[in-house]
């Protein structure tokens, strides 16, 4: 049965029953977890533990436990940061931009995608702290009145980052929560006991009166309108961390759109990575259809092509610039000591999405899910290439050097995945993974 089923085909009683069924199906996931869930959660927590131990080591001994060196001052940590910020992108893209565009398939993914956004920003937000030489002084990055009479340097892209990322986290959280309020009210109605009380408090006493809906709709629209430029700005600001620098391979005007496209690309891949299993495990086939996934696949394909175009433009600009530093930088990316990383990226991000031109590939969930993994890996390498290779060979041949990540850096990276999935797993068992209110609204149309 299709979720496109219109009320016209049903009697009013059937519509109400269908809405009730929808609630039951989706809220069925919020139940006592089975051992598989616990195993998955234990794995995630173990990864977090690995990350925590690694970070502790690093704090105690110093950043020397990483592979960072002269001239590569940023490595895996900043790569991870940009990667997670990128992942965070498609959440708001799906919920805000597609909302404004009235793309219907949005409502199948927006809840989980927004959750993914928040958890990914929470993860990403750790990395600027982790990569600090003196993390215990992180609060010096915040502009607050202090006895030292000191402020932060608002010209630094890192301070822009502080503002962009914290704004993004706050606004995404508000957006997500606002969308959740009516669904929490449904949970309050369905659940009993202590759960009822918790959902009751969380839903702020939402009743569903016309007035509430009126302001709610208005708010949702405004938030979507605010979040749309925000989502574009956040990754632009992140890209300016690099584009504002003098380093060749960083210092380029195409970075903002290039990074935004890359972020959406990796974000969509991550949504697929997460939603395919959720659809299976929670038996939501009825509400999330192959058609919906195909639309996501098209978005993936499109952003993949944008990213590929950016890769080509980078090379073309370097060639056309006549600038020896830039030319050598890109020659080094293609054929130098890091060629393995560059070609891994090309294979994952340029070649593999081309398969989506083939319709059956777009419609095979198994294939999409498998494809989403190399795209995630490829996007990680894209950031790695930009950050590390540009630094490894910049201006002065004497100062060239090769960076190899250390076990601590991998440990923290693993920890970040554990951190993200830990939150996501808890989310699937405590909150509705689909936006029930919106699905119900669609039934009427």
């Amino acid at each position: 049965m299709s979720s496109d089923a219109h009320a016209n085909a049903r009697t009013p009683e059937e519509v109400v029953q269908y809405k009730d069924k929808m609630e039951r199906d989706i809220y069925a996931a919020i139940s006592k977890p089975n051992w598989k869930f616990w195993a998955a959660l234990a794995l995630a927590v173990t990864c977090v533990g690995i990350g925590a131990v690694s970070w502790a080591t690093q704090i105690i001994r110093g950043l020397g436990v990483t592979g960072l060196m002269n001239p590569v001052g940023w490595g895996v940590y900043i790569t991870d940061f940009v990667f997670w910020v990128g992942i965070a992108h498609s959440g708001t893209l799906i919920s805000a931009i597609l909302y404004l565009f009235r793309a219907k398939f949005r409502s199948r993914f927006n809840r989980a995608a927004e959750a993914m956004t928040i958890f990914a920003v929470l993860t990403a937000g750790l990395f600027p702290l982790i990569h600090l030489g003196r993390v215990w002084l992180f609060y010096w990055l915040l502009p607050y009145p202090n006895q030292r009479y000191l402020w932060v340097n608002f010209r630094s892209p890192l301070v822009w980052d502080v503002f962009a990322v914290s704004t993004y986290l706050t606004v995404s959280a508000v957006f997500w929560y606002v969308g959740l309020i009516p669904d929490l009210a449904i949970a309050r109605r369905i659940k009993s006991g202590i759960q009822k009380k918790i959902y009751g408090i969380a839903s702020l006493g939402w009743t569903g009166t016309f007035k509430e809906w009126q302001h709610y709709n208005q708010l949702y629209k405004f938030l979507a309108a605010l979040a749309t430029p925000l989502v574009l700005s956040v990754h632009s600001v992140v890209s300016w961390d690099f584009a504002m620098a003098v380093v060749y391979g960083w210092h380029t005007t195409i970075f903002a759109p290039y990074f935004v496209a890359g972020a959406i690309f990796s974000g969509c891949a991550m949504v697929i990575t997460l939603m395919v299993p959720i659809r299976n495990i929670f038996s939501l086939e009825e509400y999330i259809t192959i058609d919906d996934f195909e639309k996501l696949a098209k978005l993936l394909m499109f952003t993949g092509l944008v990213v590929s175009y950016a890769y080509m433009i980078e090379l073309a600009l370097a060639y056309y610039s006549g600038n020896v530093y830039e030319q050598q930088q890109f020659e080094y990316r293609l054929f130098g000591d890091y060629a393995w990383a560059y070609w891994t990226m090309i294979l994952c991000n340029v070649i593999s999405p081309l398969t989506l031109f083939y319709r059956p590939a777009r419609r095979s969930l198994m294939f999409l899910w498998i494809l989403s993994i190399p795209i995630n890996i490829g996007m990680w390498f894209e950031r790695f290439n930009i950050i590390v290779i540009s630094l490894a060979k910049d201006f002065d041949p004497y100062a060239f050097g090769y960076y190899t990540p250390s076990i601590v850096e991998w440990g923290i990276t693993i920890g970040s995945f554990g951190w993200f999935f830990m939150y996501f797993l808890i989310f699937t068992k405590t909150l509705p993974v689909l936006s029930v209110t919106e699905l119900k609204e669609e039934v009427e149309h």
Binding site: P143, G205, T209, Q214, H215, L219, K440
Partner: protein
Amino acid sequence: MEYRFDDKHSFMEKLEEVFKSGVKPNDVKMVLPHPDHDIEHLVEEYTPASKLKFFTLAGGLTGCFTGFAFPSFTVLDWPLITGGKPLLSWPAWVVIAFELTILLGALASFTGMLFLSKLPRFSKMLSPDEYGNQYVLITDE
């Protein structure tokens, strides 16, 4: 008086009838299972639209102003030159102003929604009124 409808259209008919009888939307209580544009349009013929936008505007303007004023204050408070740039290097402030516009705009909107909807409604948190998936109209009579 409480009317319950499974069907949106019969609910709307009833609504129109009540409003035409001179009852103001503020005097009745309407409960919907989800937002609905048709109902919204109907009701807004008899009552003004949401004033939420003023909250958004106020928040956004505050953010924008702060975003330019605050960095300017800090560089004048302790002038330090970096990279040969003038102290008031306002192009860099644009990013800050933009982010603060969004941040305060969003937070003000959210606060506005809570304020206008009189949320959180503590009394209804633990003992809520539940109406299921039906359209409900409650009038005074």
